[in-house]
Structures are given as structure tokens and as C-alpha cells.
């Protein structure tokens, strides 16, 4: 079934859809209350949990060329991987210098208070490392690795209505009368970032075509960030580890651990029933579903799959940066299991925004000219953090 056989749109609708989405996405029936039950969405559709762009198939089985000898097959694979390495900035500075976008733009934008919002980074959560402050207090740090990533596309705020992935029906837009503010206010645009380059033989031609326009090798992960127009980056620009400095507070957005099908006691912290005292088959159940004889209301808390939702851990300071393995040590815990992707961005919390106004970060991102003299050491620590090879000295 292709788009050609779909019913034709009326001309009025085409005109309406070409304009801002909030003019034609109001699909709410008139009698809708704003209770919590109606704000929940339980719609299922085939592409529900798939990452974008789901209309493009990412992976395909590798072609098996029977004519090639194993040695030639390996040689071709090494040749492909070497081309990927050459195309993307590796850990060495010399390789980064080969990028056509190694030079920052002629006029680097200034940090504008209450306006600027920079692009973020895609990270891979690795694990947890405990550290201690100089006052003896313990702190757990999440170790996040920053892979090779490049900017893929910039969608200005005016074009959000035409942007492909936003034209599909999201479930909350069917329930709610209010669209997300980033869509209605149109202050920020979308910055697409590709991360983790890989062997092109893993991917379909359609997936590789997405990166071709930016002149990049195909990557495993595409993320989007809400970025103000003054901090927009051109396709192909490098995003690196030093985009965030030690002491910057970040928000980490990731998909939480999937805990599988769970009952109400685990999922919604319901009380259940008594374990003893004559309780007959009522120990971990939900109990009543309310309603007073009518149907169960939409959004009733019931057993189901727990976890596997996008959640944000807000305002976590970066305590340490390791340049050898390209690691960020972020205070606290972030959602998701090890080896999962996470989005790291300048925190949206107001006190962090105000501190960034006083100490602006590199805009629009870190470039080689921002490096300190002599480069960075292998480990950069926050001044409050105690490295393990130093003894603790408590003030009297």
C-alpha cells in the first residue's frame, strides 16, 4: 500500500496543514474534562515505541556475496570502516582538523540571557563510579561516554509545522487541547544530531540517504534537540566532549529501564491486601475499579508494562571529565540501563540558566580555538571533588 492509493486531501486541508500545526491539530471533542485520567494516553500503533525516523527502515541483513573470498570480504570491511573513520572526527585532534567544519563560523554568536539554548550531546551511559567530596561526603557519579557525533540538520522554528515527524498524530494531541509549548511558541528550532557511526553494510540505503545530504557516514542514532536559532549549527559540525565544562549543570533525558509486565503494587505503589487474617485471594490485587456502575474511566491505574518511558534527570552537575575515554562524570543517577543512549543538554532549570548567564558556555559549541594553552589533562576534576590519589584534609 503506497501513498498514491491514499484518499486525496481536500485543498482546504492542504492549505491548513501547510500552516502552523496548532491550527489544524485541535482534534478534541468539546466535552472533555481536564482530569488526570483524560490526560493519559493508551493508544497503541505499530510505530509506537520505535525511534524516529520510523518510516525509514534502519537495519537490514547483510548481503552475502558468494563470489568474494573471505580475505577479500574482510579487506572490504576494513576499507569501509577506514572510510568511516576518515569521515568522522576520531579521538585524535589531527583527524578533527581534517573536517571541513573545523573552523568556527565567522561570527560566533554571543550568549544571550533568557534566549540562548545550545544544542546537546548524545551520550552512552556506562555505569556508576563513587567519588568523595573534599568535605568527606560521598557522591555517586554516572559515567557517560560521548561518542562521535555530528550535526545532521537544522529545522528553524518557522518550519516546525512542515517537519515530517511532527505531522503524525501523537496520542497526547488527540487527548489534550493544549499542544506542547515548543510547538506553539516556536521560539526554538530542531537540531538533528547523528551519533555512533558504524559499518554502512549494516544499514539500508534509505537510512544512509538521510546522512548523505550532510555528507556524513551513516550512524546508529539520530537525536533531536530544541535549540534557539542563535545557537544553530550547520550540518556536519562536530560536537565534542568539551561542549560541557566541569561544573555545568545538565539535564539527562533517557528511556528508563524496562521492568516488564508488573502488577499494581509494584507499578503504582498500591497497598494490595492483607497477607493473613483470613484474606481470601486478595493479597496483591487492585481492588475496586470505581465508576459506580459505569465503565472504567480512561487512564485507570492497572497492571501493565512498567518503565521504558522517557524521563529527565534535571540539573545534575558535571563533576569530572576524562579526555582519554571521552567520559563525563555526572553527579547522581540517570535513567536507563548501561549501554543505553541518553540526551545531555544544558539544564532548563532557572537557577542554572542564571548561572550560565554569568559564566556563558562556548557558543554555539566547543571549537579547537577554545582549548586552553597546553591542551586538557587526562582528567579534569571539579574543585570540590577529591581525586583518589590525594589524602582527605578536613578543616578543624
Amino acid at each position: 500500500v503506497s501513498a498514491a492509493s491514499a484518499p486525496a486531501l481536500s485543498s482546504q486541508l492542504i492549505v491548513a496543514m501547510a500552516t502552523a500545526p496548532h491550527t489544524w491539530l485541535r482534534l478534541v471533542p468539546s466535552c472533555r474534562s481536564y482530569s488526570k485520567a483524560t490526560r493519559l494516553h493508551k493508544i497503541d500503533y505499530p510505530w509506537k515505541d520505535e525511534p524516529k525516523p520510523h518510516w525509514v527502515r534502519q537495519f537490514e541483513a547483510r548481503r552475502v556475496d558468494a563470489d568474494l573470498t573471505p580475505e577479500n570480504r574482510d579487506w572490504l570491511r576494513q576499507w569501509r570502516l577506514q572510510r568511516v573513520r576518515d569521515a568522522v572526527a576520531s579521538s585524535s585532534e589531527a583527524a578533527a582538523a581534517a573536517s571541513p567544519l573545523k573552523e568556527p563560523p565567522a561570527a560566533r554568536p554571543l550568549w544571550t540571557p533568557r534566549v540562548s539554548q545550545r544544542c546537546g550531546l548524545v551520550g552512552i551511559k556506562l555505569g556508576i563510579l563513587p567519588m568523595w567530596y573534599r568535605n568527606g561526603q560521598k557522591v555517586h557519579t554516572t559515567v557517560v561516554q560521548i561518542p562521535d557525533q555530528r550535526v545532521l540538520r537544522w529545522v528553524p522554528p518557522e518550519d516546525l509545522g512542515n517537519y515530517a515527524s511532527l505531522r503524525e498524530m501523537r496520542p497526547y494531541r488527540l487527548n489534550q487541547s493544549l499542544l506542547p509549548r515548543w510547538l506553539t511558541q516556536q521560539r526554538w528550532g530542531l537540531q538533528l544530531v547523528g551519533a555512533v557511526p558504524a559499518d554502512p553494510a549494516n544499514f539500508t540505503a534509505q537510512w544512509c540517504g538521510i546522512f548523505k545530504a550532510a555528507g556524513l557516514p551513516p550512524m546508529r542514532k539520530i537525536s533531536r534537540f530544541l535549540v534557539s536559532p542563535d545557537a544553530a549549527l550547520q550540518p556536519g559540525a562536530c560536537l565534542g566532549l568539551h561542549h560541557f565544562r566541569v561544573g555545568d549543570c545538565v539535564d539527562v533525558v533517557a528511556r528508563t529501564v524496562n521492568r516488564g509486565f508488573q502488577g499494581v503494587m509494584e507499578r503504582h505503589l498500591m497497598e494490595g491486601g492483607p497477607a493473613a487474617h483470613g484474606s481470601t485471594k486478595f493479597h496483591r490485587k487492585m481492588g475496586s475499579a470505581a465508576g459506580g456502575g459505569g465503565p472504567i474511566y480512561r487512564g485507570k491505574r492497572m497492571p501493565g508494562v512498567m518503565g521504558n518511558r522517557f524521563r529527565a534527570a534535571r540539573s545534575l552537575p558535571v563533576l569530572r571529565v576524562n579526555t582519554k575515554h571521552r567520559l563525563l562524570f555526572i553527579k547522581g543517577f540517570t535513567p536507563g540501563p548501561p549501554h543505553s543512549y541518553c540526551q545531555i543538554m544544558d539544564s532548563w532549570m532557572l537557577d542554572v540558566r542564571r548561572s550560565l548567564d554569568a559564566n556563558p558556555p562556548p557558543m554555539p559549541t566547543y571549537f579547537a580555538e577554545d582549548a586552553p594553552e597546553g591542551g586538557y589533562p587526562e582528567d579534569v576534576y571539579h574543585p570540590d571533588l577529591l581525586p583518589y590519589d590525594q589524602p582527605l584534609e578536613l578543616p578543624d
Binding site: 573513520r85 561516554q145 558504524a198
Partner: protein
């Protein structure tokens, strides 16, 4: 509000709100069409979502779109190989060129072993970071070799103490966790009160760890001393350290403890403790409990392959960890010699 399109081809979705999808028959034909990249059309244009009151509400597994935002181990290895920021294998390779790792390394660095968890939760870079930070801490403080059953004296920083240092002597009854999370518990009697203190081995507030007596017991932990007479864990605070040699094997104390009469904190007869006087223990139990304990203590567990697989560190991973630590141990010895 745009006018709702006529109900042609059975696909009128705009004015129905969200309820129509609960009776939808969903097909997957569109996903496998070999078409160029296209933006998705709105729902009312997508003929695969046909509103249908008695439609199937169960999606086939391949359509259910299980989102796996994780990198598989193969994908991680490929990414590390491409970008060159993977785990550092240089130390393990250097250890391969030397002789075998000496057994004293396995005695000194028991916590260098990776944790026994599923492979999904283990990462080689984080484990190597733990080992490197452990060795950095050992340049500041000397952490002696000790086992469960040894007697230690630990001094921690305490701003409320007279000398700003708080010293505690006790019998080590427990050693838990791995890497920088390693903790050990000391038990002693203070003014006829049982005191157990759990210390984090790599906490910088520990000023010194002094080994007073190196010894091993028959069990991994001595938690049953909580239900034993207090004489077993009464250690004088002014105990003189006993000399020991690193080359000799660790002496094993084969003492069998007689527990107090029940009630106990735990069912000690069901955990396979060898350090408890079993005849004396069974004298407190009913016949049914004794039968259960004897059944439990039968050495059939060594034939349980799955139990061994799940509760042991894989041998290659353990070897790799000790090789990594061995090189860093040699660097530590050089550093200590330079300091002298």
C-alpha cells in the same frame, strides 16, 4: 477547525478523537514497501489503520516495536574499535608477556574481581576505572591483606573525637561488594555492648587500616556470631599486632562455634555454615528442621552447573582483572620505593 472529510474508504478519524484507535485493525504492509523516504501522512490518510469495532487489539510481535535504545555488545565493540576510545588492553598484554600472575595478587586484591551480575550491567571501561582508582587510593594508604576472621584496627577521621581520629578494633565478619564499593564489617564488644561497624574500604576518611591478626575462617561471613556467646568476638583494643609472612598460606581457624539457644536472628542451619558446631546446633532443632538442614548440607551443590555459572565470575574476566591489577601493583611498588 478544518472540515472533516467525508467518510470515504472507511477512514474518517479527525472528528472521532482518540477512541477510534481502540477498535483498529492494523496492518504492516506500509512498512515494507520499497518506497523512497516519505513523511508520514496524517492518520486519516493511512489506510492501514482502518477503524473497525470488532478489530483485533493484539499486535503481532514484530509490529509491537519493542524499542531498544541500547547498544548491543557487538555494536559497542564496533564503536570502540572505530573511534579508538574503548577499554585499554595494554596492561593485560604487558602482563601476558611476563610470567604468570603470582598468587599473592589474588589474595591482596580480592575486590578487583568484577561483580557477579548479568552481562547487561557490566562494562569493561567502568571496571577498569574502578581498578585504576583503587590503585590510586592505595598510594595514599596501605590496605593490608585481610580475610573474614582477621582482626583489624581501623582509624577514621572524626571531627568530634579528641584527637580528630576514631580508632576501632574488631573482628572482620563480612566483606561485601566489589571495586570502589567494597565494604567490610568489624565486630567487637564495647562496654558489654556488641558493636558492628561497616566501613567503606576506599573511603578517604579512613586514616589507617592496621592488621592485628591474619586469619581465615571456614565461612565467607561470620554473621552467626550475633547469636553466639560474646566471648567469640571480644577483642582487646590494645591488642598487639601478630607478625605474619606474606609467603606463607593464610592460617585457617577451624574453630566451631556453639550458638546460644534460639530464638535466632536467622535460620543458621540452612546456610551451610561450616564454622558452627552442628551437633550442638541440631540439639536445639526439631527433627523436621534437622532433616531439612542435613538435606541442605549435602554437597550436591557442586554438581549444580547453573548455580556455579550464575554465582561465579567467568574465568577469563577474572584473569583479565588480575593481569590488569598485577601491572598496576608493580607500578605501586615502584612508587613506594621512590617515596622511601
Amino acid at each position: 477547525m478544518p472540515p472533516a472529510p467525508s467518510a470515504a474508504a472507511g477512514s474518517c478519524a479527525l472528528s472521532l478523537g482518540s477512541r477510534f484507535l481502540f477498535g483498529c485493525r492494523v496492518t504492516a504492509a506500509h512498512r515494507f514497501a520499497a518506497s523512497p523516504v516519505q513523511p508520514p501522512s496524517p492518520l486519516h490518510q493511512q489506510p492501514h489503520l482502518q477503524p473497525c469495532r470488532q478489530g483485533r487489539r493484539w499486535l503481532r510481535p514484530e509490529l509491537r516495536g519493542v524499542y531498544k535504545p541500547r547498544l548491543s555488545p557487538e555494536a559497542m565493540k564496533e564503536f570502540w574499535r572505530l573511534s579508538g576510545i574503548g577499554p585499554d588492553h595494554s596492561r593485560a598484554k604487558a602482563a601476558d608477556q611476563q610470567a604468570e600472575v603470582p598468587p599473592e595478587i589474588k589474595r591482596l586484591y580480592q575486590e578487583a574481581l568484577p561483580p557477579i551480575v548479568s552481562q547487561d550491567y557490566r562494562d569493561p571501561i567502568v571496571e577498569s576505572l574502578h581498578r585504576a582508582e583503587m590503585m590510586r587510593r592505595r598510594r595514599v594508604i596501605n590496605i593490608p591483606e585481610f580475610h573474614v576472621g582477621s582482626i583489624l584496627a581501623v582509624s577514621v577521621m572524626d571531627k568530634h573525637a579528641p584527637n580528630k581520629v576514631n580508632r576501632f578494633v574488631g573482628l572482620c565478619i563480612l566483606r561485601r561488594h566489589t571495586g570502589l564499593f567494597t565494604t567490610f564489617t568489624l565486630r567487637n564488644m564495647v562496654d558489654q555492648v556488641c558493636v558492628q561497624i561497616e566501613y567503606e574500604l576506599y573511603s578517604p576518611s579512613i586514616v589507617s587500616i592496621q592488621l592485628l591478626k591474619l586469619e581465615r575462617r571456614l565461612d565467607d561471613n561470620l554473621l552467626y556470631l550475633m547469636d553466639a556467646p560474646h566471648s567469640h568476638c571480644t577483642i582487646p583494643f590494645d591488642m598487639v599486632p601478630e607478625p605474619y609472612s606474606r609467603n606463607d598460606p593464610v592460617p585457617v581457624n577451624r574453630e566451631r562455634v556453639r550458638l546460644n539457644p534460639p530464638p535466632w536472628m536467622c535460620k543458621w542451619h540452612l546456610h551451610g555454615y561450616q564454622g558452627i558446631d552442628l551437633e550442638h546446633l541440631y540439639s536445639y532443632l526439631s527433627d523436621k528442621d534437622v532433616a531439612k538442614a542435613i538435606e541442605f548440607s549435602k554437597a550436591y551443590k557442586r554438581y549444580d552447573l547453573l548455580d556455579q555459572y550464575l554465582n561465579r565470575v567467568p574465568v577469563p574476566d577474572a584473569d583479565y582483572a588480575f593481569k590488569d591489577i598485577f601491572i598496576q601493583h608493580q607500578e605501586l611498588l615502584q612508587h613506594q620505593q621512590q617515596q622511601q
